[in-house]
């Protein structure tokens, strides 16, 4: 644990002006990243209140200290097979600006993974997915060591 913290602080120290930090999480054995500045908090899964006639990826709403926060299942949003929610299922609460309004939403992912500093140059490497529905969700792809991380464009992911 402390090693990890050290690693992270190392990364913070190394972080330069054109570098952004990304929080990564796992979903169906793939690693995705989002700008860490958007992350408000990370919570365990809890029961939600269903919203009538909402799309399937909107699981419902929770009470986050007095604010009503909708919960989005990212697997369903991306059209992946859904997963049972267990004690390890994690909800990342993010704040995004959608159409000029600040919204706080929760997204359900399999597990939280790591924090990386990634420069904007590296992230810009977006392959051409012309025929994919999910292309607009991707901000860029980046290699971290052996792994490939998909950086998400949260604004469009959460623009329901």
């Amino acid at each position: 644990m402390s090693e990890q913290v050290e690693q992270i602080s190392q990364l913070v120290l190394e972080g330069q002006h054109d570098e952004n930090q990304y929080l990564t999480f796992m979903m169906a054995d793939e690693e995705y990243g989002m700008n860490i500045l958007a992350v408000q908090e990370i919570r365990g899964w809890e029961d939600v209140t269903a919203i009538p006639n909402a799309p399937s990826f909107v699981k419902g709403a929770i009470n986050l200290r007095g604010t009503i926060v909708p919960i989005i299942d990212l697997r369903l949003r991306f059209g992946l097979a859904d997963n049972d929610y267990g004690p390890l299922t994690v909800v990342i609460v993010v704040a995004v600006e959608i159409n000029g309004q600040n919204k706080v939403m929760g997204i359900v992912v399999d597990a939280v993974s790591d924090v990386y500093s990634i420069s904007e140059e590296q992230a810009k490497d977006v392959p051409d997915f012309q025929d994919s529905d999910n292309a607009e969700f991707v901000h860029g792809l980046v290699n971290v060591g052996e792994k490939m991380v998909v950086l998400l464009n949260l604004e469009s992911v959460l623009n329901l």
Binding site: D47, V48, T49, A50, I51, P52, N53, A54, V58, G60, A61, I62, N63, G66, T67, I68, V69, P70, K103, V104, M105, L160
Partner: protein, 707 residues
């Protein structure tokens, strides 16, 4: 010394709007020929505060305009001029004009000065000084190239006591241009008799500036009554050939006009009279100027609320109580658990509940304002419209002290204006017609507000001709709202005026009759969870009744269970809840069940169907039916079970998500879970039930996806 004045703008605008409201109210009280000095003084003071404030903040268009107004008021006050009805009309017009200018300035836009200039010219004609001032202003405009002014400033000894500091004015002068200062201290007495609190100095300034003379006069605006000020022109840099004497003579006139001596000016302290009023600030009614960015205007109207000190004091008291109770509880918590401590704990908790409830009520009270803030705009409106229509109208205001939530108040005012206009235009007859009908030629419009069981009721009554049911019926048939064959009771026909696109006025006037009225009124009121009804008797008059919840933030709700989900139905819309007698249910169309309840047929809406929930009880005889009413339109909602009734705090679902059809908001239950509040009229729309002007409800073909 440069203070950022913009931070005070909001306060200035707020106070100015208040001043204008006061002026308007007092002007309406004025009776030409029988005017009350105190009333005129109040109007004068309000005008003077606005002039002073706008001058300080550099809104010269406003201060110039108010100046003329003030001159007229001053003459009336001094008895030099008799007040006429024409004056009152002009003064009222100028109040509107000022309001428009201030609204524009508040939205950081250039005010439209055409109207202001027009009114000002007419005032000047009245004042008989049209020529004088026009030259003044020409001069003021023309002095854009550099001129050297000689300013003689001789404060009266009491200057310091009025809180004015000449040094600031001098440095302000220095900002205008190149300044040369001479000070005269010959009036300073010897040290023994010197009173340090008095001013014995006098100054002569030579200022070279490209600013007009008014900019200089503005600096001395606040001290013009506490000093002798003389501003004279010494000839510009480029036309030094101009004889000083001539320029002086010209400029003397300028000074006379741009800084009048108002001898009888009441002490400035009196201006604060309006501010000592502890009642809450009026919601700013920003009569939207045509070119005003309405969004901005509405934003600014939501910024502040003035709260009476008594309300704040009682809040502080409550919080004190709360702290004491908390201390008591934590003390009990530290003791060993015995039977006595448990009893004490229970007592403490009861007290805590009591404190919390009190606190809640008091916090709510802060947002409550007397409805007189809305009512106060009607005397003017009624006066203007009745003059335009040549009708004689008396306006009665009742229950002005009834309090309601500020947000509700802001939103109710436009629908009310609409209803009052309608009463004046359509409801009341002309004096001749009234005499012919054996009535007093003076018609009466009554606005009445009162509380009734957690709601506020506002009635708008007129003693006019009542609604013309025949005309409404034929119009509705012509518009295709109802069929010729439909038999409707008079009440049902009167209901039709709330249908979209309905207007009975034969001629479209600029007051009403464009047919975009009543349905918008109803929609706006429903958006506040309220309702509007009309009752009318031919020849006797009509009454519009608006019912509103006291506050938008809290609602009495009935918790219901549908499958495993808990929903909240607003208690105000529930008519009754019952078990379904299966023998009285009949099936209409493909999938609509209708329950015969006494004389009515109630369509049954299956909530689980509309909201797409699985696992609910589907057999009608095992469920409960909650009969709700919206728009005079009753439906039954099928629920699995009725749970508790409780007050719920309304939270926005839209803030972080989006609008959900059939849901008006969300709340948090005692266990911390979210529960959604059902929006009855939205739900009826969502269910596809339709009502084409008759009692019958038909099922719209639902799309296969929704079924």
């Amino acid at each position: 010394m440069s203070i950022d004045l913009s931070q005070f703008f909001e306060v200035f605008f707020e106070e100015s709007f208040e001043g204008l409201d006061a002026m308007e109210a007092e002007l309406l009280n004025l009776e030409p020929g029988n005017e009350d000095m105190e009333t005129i003084n109040t109007i004068f003071r309000a005008a003077h505060s606005i002039k002073g404030g706008s001058g300080t903040f550099g809104f010269s268009s406003v201060s110039d305009f108010t100046h003329v107004l003030e001159t007229l008021l001053d003459q009336i006050r001094d008895g030099q001029r008799a007040l006429t009805a024409e004056h009152v009309n002009f003064l009222l017009k100028s109040v509107d004009c000022l309001r428009g200018m201030l609204t524009a300035l508040q939205a950081e836009q250039e005010p439209d000065l055409t109207e202001a200039n027009e009114i000002r010219q007419r005032f000047e004609v009245i004042l008989g000084m049209a020529e004088d001032t026009s030259t003044t202003f020409d001069l003021a405009e023309e002095t854009l190239n550099e001129n050297t002014y000689q300013v003689d400033f001789k404060p009266y000894p009491h200057l310091f006591k009025t809180g004015n500091e000449p040094l600031y004015m001098i440095s302000e002068l220095a900002e205008l241009g190149e300044l040369e200062t001479q000070v005269f201290f010959d009036a300073v007495p010897d040290i023994n008799s010197l009173n340090a609190e008095e001013c014995f100095l006098a100054w002569r300034f030579f200022l070279t500036t490209d600013k007009p003379v008014s900019a200089i006069a503005e600096i001395f605006e606040w001290v013009e009554d506490d000093s002798d000020i003389e501003i004279t022109i010494c000839g510009g840099l480029f036309d030094t050939g101009l004889a000083d004497a001539d320029a002086d003579a010209d400029a003397d006139d300028v000074v006379e006009e741009s800084s009048p001596r108002i001898e009888a000016l009441p002490d400035k302290k009196e201006n604060s009279m309006e501010q000592t009023d502890t009642s809450i600030n009026k919601p700013q009614i920003n009569s939207p100027a045509k070119n005003t960015d309405t969004k901005k205007a509405s934003d600014s109207s939501a910024t502040s609320i003035r709260v009476g000190i008594d309300k704040v004091d009682s809040l502080i008291n409550m919080v004190g109580e709360l702290v004491i109770t908390q201390a008591m509880l934590s003390q009990i918590g530290e003791q060993d658990v015995t039977e006595t401590t448990i009893t004490a704990l229970q007592e403490g908790l009861a007290q805590l509940a009591h404190n919390t409830r009190d606190l809640q009520e008091n916090v709510m009270r802060i947002r409550m304002l007397p409805i007189s803030f809305v009512f106060s705009r009607f005397p003017r409106l009624v006066r203007d419209i009745s003059q335009k229509l040549n009708k004689q109208v008396e306006l009665k205001l009742l229950g002005e002290q009834t309090e309601l939530d500020k947000t509700v108040m802001e939103k109710i005012s436009d629908p009310m204006v609409h209803l009052v206009r309608n009463s004046l235009d359509h409801g009341l007859e002309t004096p001749e017609q009234r005499v012919a009908a054996g009535k007093d030629p003076m018609g009466t419009v009554t606005l009445n507000a009162f509380h009734q069981g957690g709601n506020i009721v506002i009635e708008i009554m007129d003693d006019g001709q009542g609604l013309n049911t025949e005309k409404i019926r034929s119009k509705a048939i012509a518009n295709g709202l109802i069929q010729e064959s439909d038999e409707l009771s008079p009440d049902e026909i009167n209901e039709l005026i709330f249908m979209p696109g309905f207007s009975t006025s034969d001629e479209v006037s600029d007051i009403s009759g464009r047919g975009v009225g009543m349905d918008v009124v109803r929609r706006n009121i429903q958006a506040l969870n309220g309702s509007v009804e009309v009752a009318s008797a031919p020849g006797v008059g009509s009454t519009f009744t608006i019912r509103l919840p006291l506050t938008l933030a809290i609602l009495d709700g009935q918790l219901v269970r549908v499958a495993q989900h808990t929903y909240i139905i607003p208690l105000i819309s529930i008519v009754e809840s019952l078990q379904i007698d299966i023998s009285k249910v009949s099936r209409v169309g493909k999938d609509l069940d209708v329950l015969r309840l006494r004389d009515e047929y109630i369509p049954i809406l299956r909530l689980y169907n509309i909201f797409n929930h699985d696992g609910a009880i589907e057999e009608l005889d095992k469920t409960l039916l909650v009969v709700v009413e919206s728009d005079n339109h009753k439906v039954g909602l099928l629920v699995d079970d009725l749970l508790a009734q409780q007050q719920v705090v309304i939270k926005s679902l839209e803030a972080n998500y989006q609008k959900v059809d059939g849901i008006s908001g969300a709340t948090i239950l005692g266990d911390g879970r979210v529960s959604l509040i059902i929006d009855i009229s939205g739900l009826i729309k969502l269910s596809g039930l339709k009502r084409p002007g008759s009692q019958e409800l038909v099922v719209e073909q639902k799309s296969a996806g929704a079924a």
